[in-house]
Symmetry: C2
Subunit: 344 residues, 2 copies
């Protein structure tokens, strides 16, 4: 019941394992007959190289690690699907890890992946993480690493994100073009770069349209779903004056729906609402939610492509040292799409 090895084939053929190895990887010269005989037997027995053995000698595993904070939002699931799609095509396997938003867990997961000898790591850091030295350690150990969804200033490596500034800006421009003038913003948790970029996009659109920026129209979510909002009472009163809201994500748009109704106003007639992400729930809300769709799948794909490119570049580098120019840290920014539905 043992899997067939290169030695089994060599024995049956009466030649040495090295010859079989060479024939299989078609690298150095073997005679045409040997090549044919080996190929035939290998096919017959469905020979596959033992990844532990090749891993040991080549010092690579074709294993990639993914660290993500949770899979509750469909956004991260889609990113993961994108990663898996690319890895499937390029013949890498993916080890998925969830940090549950915990800094300690994140540290632990990274060190596990390091010990597992993955060829590279894709990560989106947890909410809780303020100190990024555990990522730096991985990079220092020369494990290629690419971040997605979240940009980390402190760390000098590649990153794939979506253009949140532009996404928010376009959404607000659309509201303005529909005649909305008093547009509020329900902003995400303050320390997240994504919250901030969306906020800036919102401001920029107002500015370009010559509308005043009123800080009283900006409110901050204290949790991921918008159930808890700073200065909620003020926001409730403001709902009577505004004609549109753009929120940080789709579940918080649902909370806004409730508040707007609580104040006796209707969507979209009195108040237009735009969410962010295009979570499946957007289509199940009444009215269906207009939202900024992030290219989640594509983010995953690109991130994996960048990582694999980096890995294979390193591989070459080892064979021909310094044949390639030094790669610079770069950030790939993908465009969002505004999906217009009934709430605007």
């Amino acid at each position: 019941m043992r899997k067939v090895t290169i030695t089994d084939i060599a024995n049956e053929l009466g030649c040495s394992p090295s010859t079989v190895s060479r024939a299989l990887r078609n690298k150095e010269k073997v005679s045409a007959e040997t090549y044919a005989a080996v190929s035939k037997l290998a096919k017959k027995y469905g020979y596959r190289p033992n990844p532990n053995a090749t891993g040991l000698v080549n010092n690579r595993t074709r294993l990639l690690g993914v660290v993500v904070q949770h899979l509750e939002h469909s956004y991260f699931v889609k990113v993961l699907e994108g990663i898996l799609a690319t890895c499937q095509a390029k013949d890498y396997q993916v080890i998925t890890c969830i940090s549950h938003g915990s800094y300690e867990k994140e540290k632990q997961l990274l060190s596990q992946l390091y010990n597992q000898c993955v060829d590279g790591i894709l990560a989106s850091h947890s909410h809780e993480t303020k100190n990024f030295s555990h990522f730096q350690e991985i990079i220092d150990a020369s494990i290629p690493m690419v971040f997605f969804d979240r940009f980390i200033e402190e760390i000098d490596t590649q990153c794939v994100i979506s253009d949140d500034f532009d996404g928010a800006k376009e959404a607000v421009e659309y509201l303005i073009s529909n005649g909305r003038r008093k547009i509020a913003h329900l902003m995400g948790p303050e320390h997240l770069s994504v919250s901030y970029y969306r906020y800036l996009g919102y401001r920029e659109a107002l500015k370009e349209a010559g509308l005043p920026h009123d800080q009283d129209l900006v409110y901050v979510m204290l949790d991921e779903h918008g159930k808890d909002i700073a200065n909620k009472e003020l926001f409730l009163q403001k709902i009577l004056e505004i004609d549109a809201v753009i929120t940080f994500n789709d579940s918080s748009a649902f909370e806004v729906y409730k508040l707007v109704r609580q104040m006796g106003r209707s969507i979209p007639e009195d108040v237009a609402v735009i969410g962010f992400s295009d979570d499946p729930i957007a289509q199940y809300l009444t009215p269906q939610l207009t939202t900024v769709r992030q290219p989640a799948f594509k983010i995953g794909q690109r991130a994996a492509e960048v990582l694999i490119h980096k890995i294979e570049r390193n591989q070459e580098e080892e064979i021909f040292p310094s044949s390639l120019p030094q790669e610079t840290a770069s950030t790939i920014v993908l465009k969002n799409d505004l999906i217009i539905r009934e709430s605007t």
Copy 2:
């Protein structure tokens, strides 16, 4: 930049690698001093065994494969989270694969996992799969395997599912206890065992309550989301007569919402609706959807536990052949919960 090896430690200590190995695994006797010295150095350098090397000699990788048809329903995501939780605790890594509902892809993924030398596989077969020989081949190659979510009669191995019969039955009983008498069922795709069990549960509840079973109240979904229903026109007309519907999943309950409204009736006053799964969308519908919650996380946890138990049992078996009684194929059935919301 190389990781520290057992030999490095041995050299620094002036002893042989075998001594270090023994000290680290604390197995055979080493002197107290050697043990202390080795432990100290190992800790100092953060020594971790190379998984390729241990994998090669022990013929195990602490890698598990998961094959799932997609991650679009939060159900499968939660199962995956459960699997990851157990594996995290037991120090296994998980390679996730998505079949996208394709039989060919499923075959390909299984053989990849086999070639990768995973210690075991967790799988839920794709919609399309009618022939299960590729699973049988894995089992014949003595790779431990456990199925979840879907039961396969043809294959003799362990399986973890939820009690769909009972879940549906309880839901219908609840409707009856609320005075509903003409209860329709929107059934899932016909060849799936889950569809059938839910249907049977529905019938059983009617029977026990002494209500007639009317086949005109049962309709079949032609897709996963219930946008396409066999005999849709008939169903529309029936909506005028019925006072409740239980659907195959939550997204199809949303379609039923639309149809009920289209016929000018209201939920829950005229028609109560119950879904299945407790997808997050259930809470975002208006009215919020009563649904049968499947213990998805727990299913994943249990499936992984069963698999790991099987793997470690096999391990022992190799050391002490036939010391343990033959394990029998068994099915673990977990209970569902009825989550009561506004739609009933």
